[in-house]
Amino acid sequence: MAAGYTFEPRILGFLCNWCCYAGADLAGVSRYQYPPNIRVIRLMCSGRVDPAHIFRAFSTGQDAVFIGGCHLNDCHYVTHGNYGALGMVYICKKLLEHIGLNPERLRLEWVSAGEGIRFANIMNEFGPRIEKLGPLGKGEGIDEHELKFKLEAVTKLIPYIKLVQSERLRVSVRTEEAYNKFFTSEEFNRLFNELIIDKLALYLHVSARNQDIGTVVVDNDKIDRIINKHQGKAGSLVQVLLEIQHENHWLPQDVLDRISKKLDVPLSRVMQIVTFHKTFSLIPEESNE
């Protein structure tokens, strides 16, 4: 390793208030030693961890995410949130795998308030494990740019994934066996591929293109010229948009902001028009319109 630099993994922990957080507290009070890589966020229940939180963490450069909850059937709420967390983690691991990240970077464990030693043991094992995997992306050999748009694509798809989860990927029996059985079954694989992977492929495609073209700086002077040509009247909004669409073949967000400001038209109205007509495109098109 290069002199002076050692890789210190950054781990974000989401710990449930009633069990795992108390367990971690106990580990501290009892002076058990474990690597100081984890930063903790306390939640009322592990079930409150949203896929968006996990991918946000990865997007901001965390190398791993740890979720700690109560043992199954020990949840402090009637909702049994930790079962929710279990299903969610299965899906997220699958997503991570799909975009080329090691699913081990996401870990879910059950730690009760009395198991301080267990928490320390897990951390002693998890920290070095991540250290071995290397920094996020680099360890897997994905380049930084690529990683960014892949995470972005998944983040955009999350509301849809949650919908699919609640509609099609539900386990009716609340036992660990039933969950493990379902999430490792062929049926789950098939549904996952059909409902999520296809859509994700499309998002990845669009996101990749946005990255490429988005770097092209939009010529503000040109846009101002078009706006001025139409005397900056509110009624000429459509004409301004049309002309820019013709020139640029799509309408980037900052252009819309600029039009809204210059013509003194609320952005909501600009968006209303742009999304109403099929002529306008909010993503770069490959062909000419």
Partner: protein, 555 residues
């Protein structure tokens, strides 16, 4: 060019233009309308220019790229003046021969003139060709004589005389009265009397009023507005200014679509020229009347042709219709009285003022006066734009002008008015062209597109095609239209896809009734019209479709 400041100056200018023109000087008029542009007439035009330059005839021969001549089937068309020899389907290779033989040698080239496909008879002049012979071309007639980009050409055929007549010899009330007497009805589809609309706008409270040209023309198979507006933009503009004078408006809009750049171009030139001549802008012709026009270029989805949607669009909103408890002629753009008329309606106005309402009412039927432009398409020999007086029977239009059905097929039906119109069967072909007669038959004239269908047409598929179009074009604001069309489409798809069930037809009728009475705008209200009219005349086809499938499944 200095401004014209009075009626007499305008007449002097006209005299000047005319005196410069030698009526015996040869002129080559080449159609540069939409249809002919599609068949590479650009090359024909440049070939003529080249040839004339090569032979050093630039001062002796005029070349004029005109608007649509109407006979799109035989394009590109070329008319040689002063003999008015008409050549059809001209190619760039024919050009040297035309210049040397006809323009200089005054000889007719036999192989280029029109030959009747049935009789083999030849016609050297436009007026002898059956397609033109049976028309009455009040509005389109000037198209061959005018370069749309030249205001002088329009002045030479008596343009803007009606404007100066209205401004100096008539009061706004008199102009309005004249239009009312002429019984001019809106050509855009509804057939609402234009005079009454003007009067409503005129009497509506408020100082600011607007007049609008609806050059949207979204109807499938309709292209007559384009023909007249692209070919003779000044005639529409003149009508608009006269209308504004009668209504008391000082601001006009021209609403057109972004996908017809040629039209936009010609309008822009016409507006600039008219302003330069003092026919538009402040103090028109020195009369003290001010009028400005703005061109509004829009996306133009189908529903934007609807008056309230169009006005919202001009305001800079999305083209969604609003309920019209209050007419747009009372509360339109920005809540101000706004009079909206179709291109063709405006083009009729100078004609009425020039020749008087008595002359105008001389043609047409009891309730529909004047002439109507129709665009012929579908299974017909002569595709194109024709102008006929009201009262002409459909048979005359299809066979006399249209040349009948190609390939010896029989005619099955004629469909009027595009996706919101209706069809009439062969048996009713002797119905006269008339707003009310056709509406009674469930096939309102619409904007005037005539789709001719031969015996091979499946009427269920036709209705389905139109409904599919409307379901794509519905703006989605009101539920009856959005969902009603979709459900009707589903049932129709079932019927034509072989999954029709008994009771489907009744269900269609029920849904169409609800959609028709509950929708906000004309799009939804008339969405089921093609369906209902085909059900009315071709119900057996629907039944056969369902029946057949039942037999098949029972086997």
């Amino acid at each position: 060019m200095p401004r014209i400041n009075s009626a007499s100056e305008l007449e002097e200018l006209r005299k000047g233009v005319l005196s410069e023109r030698d009526p015996h000087k040869p002129c080559i008029a080449i159609c540069a309308g939409m249809g002919c542009l599609g068949v590479s007439n650009g090359r024909v035009i440049s070939a003529f220019e080249e040839e004339v330059n090569k032979k050093d005839l630039k001062t002796k021969v005029d070349i004029r790229a005109t608007g649509c001549h109407g006979y799109c089937e035989k394009g590109p068309m070329v008319v040689i003046y002063p003999e008015e020899i008409c050549y059809v389907e001209v190619t760039p290779e024919d050009v040297p021969e035309i210049v040397s033989q006809t323009v200089l040698g005054k000889k007719v080239i036999d192989r280029l003139i029109y030959t009747d496909p049935d009789t083999g008879e030849k016609a050297a002049h436009q007026s002898e060709i059956p397609f033109y012979k049976n028309q009455m071309r009040h509005l389109l007639g000037n198209n061959t004589k005018i370069d749309p980009r030249s205001i002088d050409d329009y002045l030479a055929v008596g343009g803007y005389f009606a404007l100066s007549k209205s401004l100096f010899e008539m009061s706004p009330e008199e102009v309005l009265e004249e239009i009312k007497k002429a019984d001019l009805r809106g050509r855009g589809g509804g057939g609402f009397p234009a005079g009454r609309k003007w009067e409503t706008a005129r009497n509506a409270p408020g100082k600011e009023k607007y007049v609008i040209v609806n050059a949207h023309e979204g109807e499938l198979g309709a292209y007559m507005d384009r023909a007249i507006f692209t070919g003779n933009p000044h005639s529409v503009l003149e009508g608009l200014i006269i209308g504004a004078y009668a209504i008391g408006s000082h601001q006009g809009f021209i609403y057109t679509r972004h996908d017809s750049p040629q039209l936009k171009n010609n309008i822009d030139i016409a507006l600039a020229k008219a302003e330069e001549y003092g026919l538009l802008g402040e103090n028109i012709l020195g009369s003290g009347f001010d009028f400005h026009v703005e061109v509004h270029l829009d996306i133009g989805i189908f529903v934007s042709g609807e008056s309230s949607a169009l006005m919202r669009s001009i305001e800079g909103n999305i083209p969604e219709p609003r309920p019209k408890y209050i007419r747009t002629s009372v509360s339109g753009i920005w809540g101000k009285p706004s009079d909206l008329n179709n291109v063709e309606t405006w083009a009729n106005v100078p004609l009425i003022i020039n020749k008087g309402s008595e002359w105008y009412t001389g043609t047409g039927t009891e309730r529909s006066k004047g002439t109507k432009l129709v665009s012929l398409s579908g299974n017909i020999v002569n595709t194109g734009v024709a102008e006929v007086p009201f009262g002409t029977t459909i048979r005359e239009i299809v066979y006399g002008i249209g040349g009948g059905i190609p390939n010896g097929k029989k005619l099955k039906a004629v469909h009027f008015g595009g996706p919101m119109g209706g069809s009439i069967p062969e048996s009713l072909l002797d119905t006269p062209l008339d707003f009310d007669e056709l509406a009674k038959l469930g096939a309102p004239i619409g904007a005037g597109s005539m789709l001719v269908l031969d015996e091979d047409t499946n009427m269920v598929d036709l209705a389905r095609y139109f409904l599919k179009f409307l379901s794509d074009e519905s703006c989605g604001k009101c539920v009856p239209c959005r969902e009603g069309i979709r459900q009707m489409l589903r049932i129709l798809a079932n019927i034509s896809g072989g999954k029709g069930r008994e009771g489907d037809i009744e269900r269609l009728e029920e849904i169409s009734e609800v959609t028709g009475s509950a929708s906000l705008c004309a799009l939804g209200k008339t969405a089921a019209d093609p369906l209902l009219s085909t059900l009315r005349y071709f119900r057996d086809e629907y039944e056969a479709n369902i029946e057949n499938m039942k037999c098949l499944s029972e086997k």
